[in-house]
Symmetry: C2
Subunit: 308 residues, 2 copies
């Protein structure tokens, strides 16, 4: 039986890495020949998780078609977020919780998407549907993914199903949800050792809004000053990217995972659209966005309508 690779998106986060590992576990229990891999480096948070619930770190594979003819995608479907050579392999399955776009197959496939906060919440359900056992390690990885994607169940993307799954999995994993969750989020939120270049690329996504090219990058912190204390340097780097990519707007969002507020550094000729979108005043290119934590649900939609 030929091997099938399982992987999540580029710039991997905790949900993407753990979902590959966890779904590989379930598929193996069902008799499939699969290997979880990753398309990029682990971040600090994911590193913490894979040490806490010790599992092997998936191999880094950049050219997936050199290793397999068939793949399974988790936590993404859009082509530009996937392996560069995704068109050279056959996608057998997708397990995801995002919108569907820029995705096409020539054959029928297994596609399971649900509008929940985290891929792990769907995987937890699949174990039950298949009547398979969830080990302590796999439960630990899944609950970590839910904590990560929902900022400890506080993000507006979090659904009732995510909360139920997290509680259930925390018991199997033998952790206290709040205590472990905060520890895990903090492990990913130490920005003091990151370079400015790392900060602005760690989790950056580009969007087209109306006629404007917009990039929104986000970092989670406990100590805001680790990032905001370097504003002059950051602005220099952001200006270079704006120039280089021809952007109309760059919004760099620093999210405090303890207060659940964000501070945005805003540059570009459409900077005033942020003032309009959030009803704030930029002071030295900076504004506090009270209660804003989700790029997907609280930033992209309002910015999109301000720019239309």
């Amino acid at each position: 039986m030929e091997k099938t690779l399982i992987f999540g998106h580029k710039n991997p986060d905790t949900d993407t890495i753990t979902s590959a590992i966890v779904y590989a576990d379930l598929k193996s229990q069902l008799g499939a020949n699969v290997e979880p891999i990753r398309l990029g480096d682990l971040n600090g948070e994911t590193d913490f998780v894979l040490k806490y619930f010790p599992v092997e770190i998936p191999r880094l594979v950049t050219n997936v078609s050199a290793e397999a003819k068939t793949v399974i995608l988790v936590d993404h479907n859009e082509k530009q977020q996937s392996a560069d050579d995704i068109d050279d392999v056959r996608v057998l399955e997708v397990i995801d919780h995002h919108r569907i776009a820029n995705f096409e197959t020539s054959d029928p496939l297994y596609y399971r998407a649900e509008p929940v906060g985290c891929t792990a919440t769907i995987l937890n359900k699949l174990y039950k549907e298949k009547g398979k056992n969830i080990s302590k390690e796999m439960a630990g990885l899944m609950v970590s993914a839910i904590i990560s994607d929902t900022l400890l169940l506080k993000s507006p993307t979090c659904t009732e199903e995510d909360v139920e799954a997290a509680k259930e999995l925390a018991v199997i994993a033998g952790i206290e949800l709040d205590k472990y969750g905060l520890e895990m989020l903090k492990a990913g939120a130490d920005m003091s050792t990151k370079t400015v270049a790392e900060l602005i690329t760690l989790d950056a996504k580009e969007f087209t809004m109306g006629d404007s090219k917009v990039e929104v990058a986000q970092v989670n912190v406990v100590e805001e000053n680790d990032v905001l204390g370097r504003q002059a340097e950051l602005e220099e780097a952001l200006s270079a990217i704006i120039e280089d990519k021809g952007l109309d707007l760059f919004v760099f969002v620093v999210t405090n995972i303890l207060t659940n507020d964000s501070t945005a550094i805003v540059l570009g000729r459409k900077a005033d659209s942020v003032e309009e979108a959030f009803n704030v005043r930029l002071d030295h290119n900076k504004a506090l966005l009270k209660g804003v934590v989700s790029r997907k649900k609280q930033i992209v939609p309002v910015l999109t309508s301000a720019l239309k």
Copy 2:
């Protein structure tokens, strides 16, 4: 609670019509406000089924956005096979067993596709997952859909899961699978009374393959000559459609449900792609496709790769 419409593809067949009815039954049991509708006229086979297991015929609705803001798609996803105004409504769910193409959403959704022979096989599973009751009528509709889509379990699209589901549902429906199945297929296979216009639109689907616009229509027959005896007339009508829609290729497939072979009539400037795809020679625009019964599994994939 606002109403959500549930519907299958244009040129409805038995799986598309019954899946809308059956999924509406399940969603209603789960407390949703839904109505199954249809985008076109019933064919003879479906008419037989809805009389045998008496249920109300879904309303014909051509302008779905005039009636609802949200919809659920069954048995299809490609935009050109759906309601003309599909872009004006929000797709909440898709239950399907086809490839994914020309489908895009701006929000996360519930998407359940499995590579099985029939949507009904997935629906049967959903009843179990949700712990809901399957009535005799709903079982009858589902087993009829499986018989229709798999040509009485003989098509290469038929999987172990379809066979299991058909056997299980036949018991609840109180029918003998082979006896009822052949009677049902024959009810849909009498083409002697159809006009040429009816023959080529009865079960026609449009596809984008590479840069080509392709339409593939299929009819099931017991008496091939009822159709092939009218080739001249058929070609005239097909040419008019090619002209009208700007198609690059029209493949009209006549499938004999007793021998499980098909004859294709092929027109359009990309006609040679059929010769390449099936390794056959067109003789008077016609070729025998030995053992080919499935558009989805035996026609669309090979044509797609020939046209890329």
